[in-house]
Symmetry: C2
């Protein structure tokens, strides 16, 4: 871990991580909604409450493979019934049972009118093609799934704001939901700045470095089943201006990497402000990623373009995607809850730093307690510990944290 | 939660969940490997160890925006240097510093030969265009990132078997890795059986139900950025035979839903065995999903086709995807570790059942302790609690579990 207490952490007037996240949630204007087929809506946020228009089960049905019976009360062993037919799952039947009659039935098949109970096939002896016998005592209303016992017409199935997980898609499908009203997913452009970043092998020359940021951001969006367009731009005011101006007309969010500090070649912020963007925040008291920049441009049609400027070092980009880009994408889709931080026990001391830190750690469960352990190589130009890390842990500013203390964090996938 | 102790749980000779998972890992023949561009390899498993062919950093560089200096030892305040040029990040320089010289430099730029330390711009006073003064004491070798300090040529970057997460892709990109040798992702066909399942709105009629299984499986694969082909088949021996025979020639894995029990219309197992598949297991002592079926067909070219037959009820399909399909897909890609079970504390008693159960629960952290709480509507034909569930929890067979006891589970996404 990086034990250096950086002098620039002492800079006055920086906002905190939580203040930055609050600003994202407060200032962002939610996107329009759209109607999608349910099978196109994975991971989207609902823009409507959904009520059931059907009962689930749709009809009273057998819970087992066996026989639907008609009998006035509990059936004693050795009682026999007249077998009058068969009902396969998925096939409608006009049959109506009268007392003493039975019908062969299968799991999920609609029980005929007159059914009082169902005997699973394990307790049925077949006498001949027209007669069966029940071998055990059997109560009324056994192994019947009643119409509407899970969901009744008019029940709330899902609430506005809820994210459509795999399970939610399955559950709504079962209730016959075919389309959903959801918030639009933002159109995102990614701008990679920095002459030191090689865009391809051909670009690679002394003084340039391999680009981790474009692959990182592309993979991050791919992980959420989303595509992004990636643009590389040279470190000149003219090139940056032309690109941002063009993108600001067509995209809801422009993500940039690099060029947001105070170096002589850090054009993102001045260019953006010149183009009419309004700064929401610049610089957060955090490590990595202090010079993060967030701004908005109101367009003539009253829609907005947002620009999230991540610092160029890959550790800041990685943290920025997990913490800030997530928050921006969610807020644009009306989801303004804080991230789902876990709490965990530190397995070792962590030295104080003037800024809040996000450390890449390894988390594991020990008898229900989540324990986190820092990995080496935490500096902002280093990423190799992401091969082992499974979480980002927040270390509060200005505090020495001791082994056994509780910290917050986020899982970041395997 | 379902408190019914099912009679069929007492069935003799069923294997346990862990035995079934062991059989999957033992019996599966790993797929061939392929070379992919790194940016196409998200979530794949490496089939090679990867060693670095470069140093990281690639060259010694400045860690800050400031001035590279040449001085024999610690620099005292007010010492001045001759400014001889500027090096921007990404631009090579032939400059060589001699004692008493300085060069303007930016974060990530290659330090020139002769550099002994770097002064961040905050501690530098510009005297004129050719002279600067250091305002604070400055030690040798400050704010220099040394060549190879993170990774040296020949260091192991990633090991065979490791999954390529977003962080891994970023980290390998930074080390200049362009292509990777990974295990092929299995070609998967999904077969939805059951005349009771409506394939479309037009199919929907009395006695049919809305299909949760196809949307569930499609969304599950979409969540992992994978496509699958989905086929619906009628409940006839002829139709099932024709389809499975065709698919078994072209796919690595056939996933089926329904038709694996002992009902008169349960054709999957007999048809599969008739086609020459060898049964690996059938029936697991679990709830839901007892009649799960797993088989393999050796093809003439020595490759294999596997068939995983999930029971048709949606709760069994959901559990089957999370527990068994995951294990099969991983094993086909050479990943034979058990799932990454969490451990958590039960917040209430859970009644005994003869079979091991997978209950859909809600998990949350309380001061680093993960606590799980069961949701209502756990029966196998019910899915609506997936709107709230965020984990599947294993309840051991034949034990009453008490509040405060530790259980294992898996997170299942938001």
């Amino acid at each position: 871990m990086n034990n250096i207490v950086s002098a620039c952490g002492a800079e006055q007037g920086l906002i905190t991580v939580d203040q930055a996240l609050d600003l994202i949630r407060d200032k962002i204007q939610v996107l329009e909604t759209e109607n999608l087929k349910l099978n196109q809506a994975l991971n989207r946020y609902l823009a409507e409450d959904i009520y059931s228009s059907i009962n689930l089960p749709l009809f009273s049905q057998s819970a087992v493979d066996g026989y639907a019976l008609s009998a006035p009360s509990t059936i004693e062993p050795n009682r026999s019934f007249a077998l009058v037919g068969e009902i396969q799952a998925g096939h409608a039947s006009e049959l109506q049972l009268t007392q003493g009659q039975a019908v062969r039935i299968f799991t999920g098949a609609k029980i005929p009118l007159g059914t009082t109970t169902v005997a699973r096939q394990e307790i049925v002896k077949i006498i001949d093609s027209s007669r069966i016998e029940i071998t055990e005592s059997l109560k009324a209303h056994t192994d019947i799934r009643d119409v509407g016992e899970e969901i009744a017409v008019g029940d709330l199935l899902a609430s506005s704001g809820q994210q459509l997980s795999v399970g939610a898609i399955a559950s709504l499908s079962m209730a016959g939901i075919q389309t959903v009203n959801v918030f639009q997913y933002p159109k995102v452009a990614v701008v990679i700045t920095g002459d030191e970043v090689a865009a391809s092998v051909e670009d690679f020359a002394a003084g340039k470095i391999f680009d981790a940021n474009a692959p990182l951001i592309q993979a991050w969006f791919q992980q959420q089943s989303q595509q992004v367009e990636i643009f590389h731009v040279a470190d000149t005011e003219h090139a940056v201006t032309a690109l941002i101006q063009t993108l600001s007309k067509a995209y809801d969010l422009i993500l940039t990497t690099g060029g947001v500090s105070v170096g002589d070649y850090d054009f993102i912020r001045p260019v953006t402000l010149n183009l009419g963007f309004e700064q929401i925040f610049w610089k957060v008291k955090q490590k990595p990623g202090k010079p993060i920049f967030f701004a908005t441009l109101q367009r003539a049609d009253h829609s907005a373009c947002y620009l999230l400027g991540l610092p160029g070092n890959p550790a800041a980009v990685y943290m920025g995607m997990q913490i800030y880009t997530s928050a921006v994408l969610n807020a644009l889709q009306g989801q303004k809850q804080p991230p789902n931080w876990f709490s965990a026990v530190l397995t070792h001391d962590v030295k104080m730093d003037a800024r809040e830190r996000f450390l890449r750690m390894s988390a594991s469960f020990d008898q229900s307690i989540l324990k986190v352990k820092s990995l080496s190589k935490q500096q902002s130009h280093m990423l190799s510990n992401l091969m082992q890390a499974n979480c980002l842990v927040r270390i509060p500013a200005g505090q020495t944290m001791l082994e056994g203390q509780i910290v917050q964090g986020l899982f970041i996938g395997s």
